[in-house]
């Protein structure tokens, strides 16, 4: 075979090369706005917060110095911070199971009923779309120790209601109750979607296989097939609960005597009341670490157990 009949690869190369470079330039140009927005709005502020956490910077101060892990060492001995960390853990520990199990139970009831599905869904979803600061004033009235309807109701049955928001042993329970109320509608909608995704044939198969009770049906079909939904709901609810701030700020302002301070509230206090931005950034990092740890746990460990295959 003569060489002259083969196409010359060297001649075609420059044109192809040119074309590839033009395409690469166009690709970068098109993604530039998104890259800029990401860097300016997310990456730089996060890095700035991380950097601040290792300084003693205070708002308005002329200079700052690097103090390494000093802020974190202080956090370890800060009783106020430890109290707020403990409160946050308590809040998540009550709100996550409460709003998840509650939402699941409601979703099963609504799904089993023949009518009013949309109505109930809308009613339970209302807290999610309403403004939580405005709703907090409603709660303030409901939970008021003397004029509030809740204690009035308790008095009717001969029980002296506690001071829901101003006694240190009740305040976290009250806030957690409001937290469940806030989250349950959102979780309910997710569970309802998850339930409709379970194939009807699975329930038919379970019936033919000898499943006779509602509990057996739930154990054999509903709960396992709802696994991916439950994992997602768990992740979302825990992250939303760790972030609790507005109800605390409006209803108790951390009181009484710091009994209801939570993580984000402490961060806000340190940063915007005492202007200790470095210390506040250190709390932010702790918060970030908790959220990342939760996400890691859920995607890496639990994910394998709910996506069968």
């Amino acid at each position: 075979m003569s060489e002259a009949r083969l196409p010359n690869p060297a001649a075609a190369a420059p044109a192809r090369h040119h074309h590839a470079r033009a395409e690469a330039i166009a690709a970068w140009a098109l993604s530039l706005p998104a890259i800029l927005a990401y860097v300016l709005m997310l990456l730089l502020p996060t890095l700035a917060a991380v950097a601040l956490a290792f300084t003693d910077y205070e708002l308005g101060a002329l200079g700052f110095s690097w103090i390494g892990l000093g802020n974190f060492a202080e956090l370890l001995h800060d009783r106020g911070f430890l109290q707020s960390l403990g409160n946050t853990v308590f809040y998540v520990g009550v709100v996550a199971p409460g709003s998840i199990l509650g939402a699941l139970a409601l979703a099963l009831l609504i799904e089993a009923g023949s009518r009013g599905r949309t109505l109930f869904r809308a009613i339970f979803f209302l807290p999610v779309v309403s403004l939580s600061v405005a709703m907090a004033s409603a709660w303030q009235y409901l939970l008021h120790p003397t004029i509030g309807p809740l204690n009035a109701l308790l008095r009717e049955v001969g029980v002296a209601g506690p001071e829901w928001l101003s006694s240190s042993e009740w305040v976290m329970w009250s806030l957690a109750g409001i937290g469940i109320w806030e989250n349950i509608g959102f979780n309910l909608v997710l569970f309802l979607a998850g339930l409709t995704a379970i194939p009807r044939e699975m329930y038919s198969a379970a019936e033919v296989d000898g499943v006779a009770s509602a509990w057996e049906r739930f154990r054999l079909v509903t709960w396992p097939l709802l696994g991916p939904t439950t994992l997602f709901v768990l992740t979302i609810t825990m992250i939303r609960a760790v972030r609790v701030f507005d109800t605390v700020k409006v209803l108790t302002n951390g009181g009484p005597n710091r009994a209801s301070e939570v993580l984000i509230f402490s961060m806000y206090q340190e940063g915007f009341t005492y202007f200790r931005l470095g210390y506040s950034a250190a709390i932010t990092l702790v918060f970030l670490a908790i959220v990342l740890a939760l996400m890691w746990l859920q995607t890496r460990v639990l994910d394998k157990r709910v996506h069968y295959g």
């Binding site: 194939p199 044939e201 699975m202 038919s204 198969a205 019936e207 033919v208 296989d209 000898g210 499943v211 006779a212 009770s213 509990w215 057996e216 054999l220 079909v221 396992p224 097939l225 696994g227 069968y308 295959g309």
Partner: protein, 381 residues
């Protein structure tokens, strides 16, 4: 045909959804050890009938007997039926062995004994569990699943999942075995292979089997008897051969057979002589009036004289040739062995003939009409 003691018998089964009647008084019997295929187009009510027999749905009227016992008021768990679903409906979180064990565990163990950690410690659990494990092993081996017992359904191919569904249904030796389009999610090659395996399994298990399909090839190849259903009614229940050669209804004739049976408008004169376009045929039928004459594609032939038609296209299928023709307004299909390919171009004018004994006559109501063939010399009179 009387159902044996351990067969399925349904009588006058009716199911309505609102105003719409999906089943209109269906009666059907499947004898012990018999394999009946229920075939019909989508939405004809065949899956509804199956769900009623399984006990997943309740009829508005009629009775269901399984194994000689009236099970109409019983729920699915209390009937002695097993079912294979189109989607297989395996439990995704359980292994193959656990999936197959579910119907046994649900019946033999108490709710406490089935609890994950505590259950095995309770009295009687171990013995019952041992029996179940042995039976699961046996069912798995019968279906070639022994090596896959620890896998989850997500790790199996479509064909393997289908076997697991079969094993789960057969493990407790039910009196009635129901299959709802079990092959429709498999690819074509696997479907043909699995067809034979299911027939084999049926022979070994020997229980009354009702098999729902929309695929007439499955129905004809697998079943002892075929039940053709349309619009909530059973049109005919007969052997595959009888369904094909001797359909009782025009809808059965047109539904079964591919390509579709040819139909020609005809009429019977006052003497009962059948005519097409005024031309008398060597066929007699008792009642005069309009008729439909149906002929399978392989029973039409090219002739010197007869019905004039124009050739439109020729299709080569390998084992046969299909000639697509048009006689007046009616499209016709003629099947020939490939070596008899005629030297004809599209648009050629031909004449068609047929053996009158092969012609099927149907009245305007779609019901079959009797036909009698005249001897050739009689036709000359």
């Amino acid at each position: 045909m009387g159902a044996g003691v351990s067969g399925i018998a349904v009588e006058g089964l009716t199911r309505r959804y609102g105003e719409h009647a999906v089943l209109k008084g269906v009666s059907l019997e499947v004898a012990a050890g018999e394999f009946v295929a229920l075939v019909g187009p989508s939405g004809c009510g065949k899956s509804t009938l199956m769900r009623l027999i399984a006990g997943i749905d309740a009829p508005d009227a009629g009775r269901i007997r399984i194994g000689g016992r009236d099970v109409t008021p019983l729920r699915a768990a209390a009937r002695d039926v097993a079912m294979v679903f189109q989607s297989y409906a395996l439990y995704p979180h359980l292994t193959v062995a656990q999936n197959i064990a579910v119907p046994l565990a649900m019946r033999r163990l108490s709710a406490w004994q089935r609890l994950p950690l505590l259950g095995p410690l309770l009295p009687g659990s171990r013995a019952a569990g041992g029996h179940i494990a042995a039976e699961v092993q046996q069912a798995a081996e019968a279906l070639g699943l022994a090596a896959l017992l620890d896998r989850r359904p997500g790790q199996l191919s479509g064909g393997q999942r289908q076997r697991v569904a079969l094993a789960r249904a057969l493990v407790r030796h039910p009196a009635a075995f129901l299959m709802d389009e079990p092959l429709s999610n498999l690819d074509a090659a696997l479907r043909v292979q699995t067809r034979r395996e299911i027939v084999d399994i049926h022979r070994r298990a020997g229980c009354a089997t009702l098999y729902v399909t929309h695929d007439q090839a499955e129905a004809l190849t697998m079943a002892d008897r075929v039940a053709v259903m349309q619009a909530g009614e059973l049109l005919q229940v007969a052997s595959p051969q009888a369904i094909y050669d001797d359909p009782a209804d025009l809808r059965v004739a047109t539904f079964i057979g591919s390509p579709r049976i040819n139909t020609l408008a005809a009429e019977a004169d006052l003497e009962g002589r059948v005519r097409i376009g005024g031309v008398p045929l060597r066929l007699l039928t008792p009642a005069p009036g309009p008729l439909t004459l149906a002929l399978r594609p392989e029973h039409l032939t090219l002739a010197e004289k007869g019905l004039p038609a124009r050739l439109e296209t020729v299709e080569f299928l390998g084992e046969s040739l299909l000639l697509h023709l048009r006689a007046g307004a009616s499209p016709l299909v003629l099947r020939l062995p490939p070596e008899q390919r005629p030297r004809l171009a599209a648009g050629a004018e031909v004449f068609l003939g047929f053996d009158p004994s092969r012609a099927l006559l149907f009245g305007p109501d779609g019901k079959r009409r009797p036909a009698c063939v005249l001897r050739p010399e009689a036709a000359l009179v």
